[in-house]
Amino acid sequence: MKSIHKIIIAVAISIGASVTSCQRLDIPPTNIVGADVIFGSEAGVTSYVANLYRALPIEDFKYRPDGNGGDNNNPPGFKRGGNDWENFYNSASAIGEEVGPYGGFDIGGGFGYWPYNDIRAVNILIEELPKHVTELTQPRVDQLLAEGHFIRAYFYYGMAKRYGGVPIITVPQDPASPVSELQVHRNKEEEVWDFISSELDLAITGMSETSEKGRANKYVAAALKSRAMLFAACVAKYGSENFVEGPARSQGFVGIPAEKAQEYFQQAWDAAKLLEGKFDLYNANPDKEQNYVDLFLKYDGNPEVIFVKQYSVAIGTAHSWDATMSPRYFTANALSRSYPTLETVERWGALNVTNPDGTPKRYSTRAEVQAGLEPRLLASIYFPGDVLRGKEFDMQRGIYPSFSGTAANEVAKPANTRSYVLAGGTDVLYNGKQVIGFTGPFTGGDELTRTGFYVRKYVDYNKAQAAVDLNRSEQPWYDFRYGEILLNRAEAAIELGNTSDALECVNKIRSRAGASTLGSVDRDAVRLERTKELVFENQYYWDLKRWRTADVVLNNARFKGLMPYYVFNEDKFIFLKEPELFQRNYNFDKRFYYEPIPGGQLALNPNLYPNNPNY
């Protein structure tokens, strides 16, 4: 009974206390930063846009196109957490540029990219800034607004290339408005690309010529415009020839009338031309191979670099490129799992590893296979015989006690009738000789090459082995570099019939690469140059899509590797072109030229129907 009294007293006291204290608490909450604080100072705006830059759909080292994992703080796709180390889950390894952990073309459905929360944040920025002219000054507000238009264009570009037409929302929606107003209809694909174009025009005219590293300026906006308009032009031109029928297409939500192609190609060319004279190809080292390697590692003062994404061990955003592109043999931790294919290598021309009579050429060292190859190829891919951190890439698939006959006959034989000696580990010896190399090729696990090659581009060779660990790589990702801009311009030029301009751009790229210059180019030559220059930069996936060639290139496709063998009785090496050792099969369904509108969004907003064709 006494305890009940106590309870009553306690309740009375706490009610009294809370009623009186409520009046004192009636102040602006100190843990919420209001619009005046954020938009009223340069520091506030910087922190606000930093969050937007962090969310930009930049397909960098960490980009993972399959939608695995993720939460609000570290969404799928554009990973931004502290431990997104599996950098071999890249788009290259789903399309045969590399082969890797994906079982085939596993990424067609996308990961439900739907950044309207980020777009809302930009819309708030664009709405708020004009209210703060007194604190920020009019010229500064104009520049920041232009930056906002760039950021907004980037988000819409990330969606347009995936879905085609999406709702264009330019003002922050009021959550209290009727649901019918909040459920916005899709815009036509053409309208979305035109919107991106006009946003970028605002950015180009309004922004200054330079900016701090990692932040956009006039030329970054022009670079994005050349990339985006090239995409739109190809959708118009090639999407009108190779398409999937459906209501979304007949209503214009996917697909652009073919007659718009020329206009978009012209916009892409004009935008690329804006950067001429402002940037240049990196050419600091007369050694062409070393120069091309350093292009991706010497970022400060590099005239080719237009826009980068930066990483930091200190704040937990570092990537793991060094630890996941090379095998454990060269690193302090982790493993590699995706490997360049022979088809990628042979973009540079067929590797000549057989004699005229069809027998495999004999090599005294592995490195001899590199003789005569283009410096850019050798700088992009680690070949057998290359050296990293004092150790050799000693790729060796096995040992032939002796070898006779032609390469073609040998490769055609069933595996169990071939006379080679293979091994399940690097410790196995054949007459005192190690059977497989420390760096593979090997099928016991995924961690050694399955093709005979490793990625070299962006790998920091200066790091000591002990320092090559997960989440310890800080070299920035070049989101835009002048090399791409020249190739965008060349492709637009060739489509516009300006062959001489295309040739000029391609030859600039080629001479820096250490390749001979060409006397003439056609569309296929421009495209081929692009796939060589931009290999492993997450471009080829979108190139295949916008050229509408993915369903042809990936029609039950299988890829090959270059398998080095040691011929014991001759003390020589031979190289055989054989199916890559994952034995993956890649098939691209035509509907994958567009991703499906995310199912969760369709449930929230039925006005997003019709979904893209065949979903």
């Binding site: 009940i4 029928e245 029609n555 035509k590 199912g599 369709l602 039925p606 064709p613 065949n614």
Partner: protein, 249 residues
């Protein structure tokens, strides 16, 4: 006092428990079924099919929100059947096969044992399909590609033998070395440009041969041929399936 409180608590808990149980799942289970045939309108026979080819696409109309579409794959004999559907009104349309697109979607009330047949016009019929063994273990396949309608026909993608050791032989169920590696890439060639090896003017369409060398001896194979078109689905027309016994040496 204590007793009263505990009784009150007990009462409260039982009220909560009873109210929590009052809502039962009174929706019917997926007890409706839908089956039928996909018929070649030019012959009245079932369209040659496979798993992963022609599908029946269903969109439920009487659901409270827009329902996600579902599909029923067809079988090798050109029939389809799904016995685990929810009862309701569905828009149904055959898709993803080697036939001219069907735009008039039918609406069907699917209940127990609902039957519905679809008539489609194939891009091409594959007729006169025959096989012979030459040199012991090379298979020569002869067949005629006969499109009922040639105006507006999609371009060709591949022409390919399909070989398997079970009777389940289709574009995704083959032995690769006897099938995909032996395909003819047509690269968008028009049907009219195809050569015709037959001199018999009475045979409509284009007659072709394909060879599959080095078949494993002493093995029984199931074989058909497929023609793939550059339409929305990269769809296939398939022949009937033949059994071929490759003898020992």
């Amino acid at each position: 006092m204590k007793k009263q409180i505990s009784r009150l608590l007990l009462l409260g808990i039982s009220v909560l428990a009873v109210s929590a149980c009052t809502k039962t799942d009174n929706y019917e289970g997926p007890n409706a079924s839908f089956e039928g045939r996909i018929i070649d309108a030019t012959t009245g026979e079932n369209l040659q099919s496979e798993t992963g080819s022609t599908q029946i696409r269903l969109e439920q109309q009487d659901w409270e929100t827009t329902a996600s579409p579902q599909t029923i794959p067809s079988k090798y004999d050109g029939t389809f059947k799904d016995t685990k559907l929810f009862k309701g009104k569905y828009k149904v349309v055959p898709t993803n096969g080697g036939f001219w697109p069907v735009y008039d979607t039918a609406t069907v009330d699917i209940g127990s044992n609902t039957q519905h047949n679809f008539e489609v016009t194939p891009y091409a019929k594959i007729t006169n399909f025959s096989s012979e063994l030459v040199d012991g273990n090379t298979l020569r396949l002869t067949f005629t590609i006969d499109p009922p309608v040639t105006a507006g026909l999609p371009t060709l993608r591949t022409i390919q033998p399909l070989v398997n050791i079970t009777s389940m032989v289709g574009t995704g169920a083959t032995i690769r070395d006897y099938s995909v590696t032996e395909r003819l890439n047509m690269n968008g060639k028009a049907f009219a440009e195809l050569p015709d090896v037959s001199t018999d003017v009475d045979v409509a369409g284009k007659t072709m041969t394909l060879e599959v060398p080095n078949l494993k001896r002493g093995t029984k194979f199931y074989v058909r041929v497929g023609v793939q078109w550059n339409d929305s689905f990269a769809s296939w027309n398939l022949s009937n399936i033949l059994e071929v016994q490759v003898p020992n040496e």
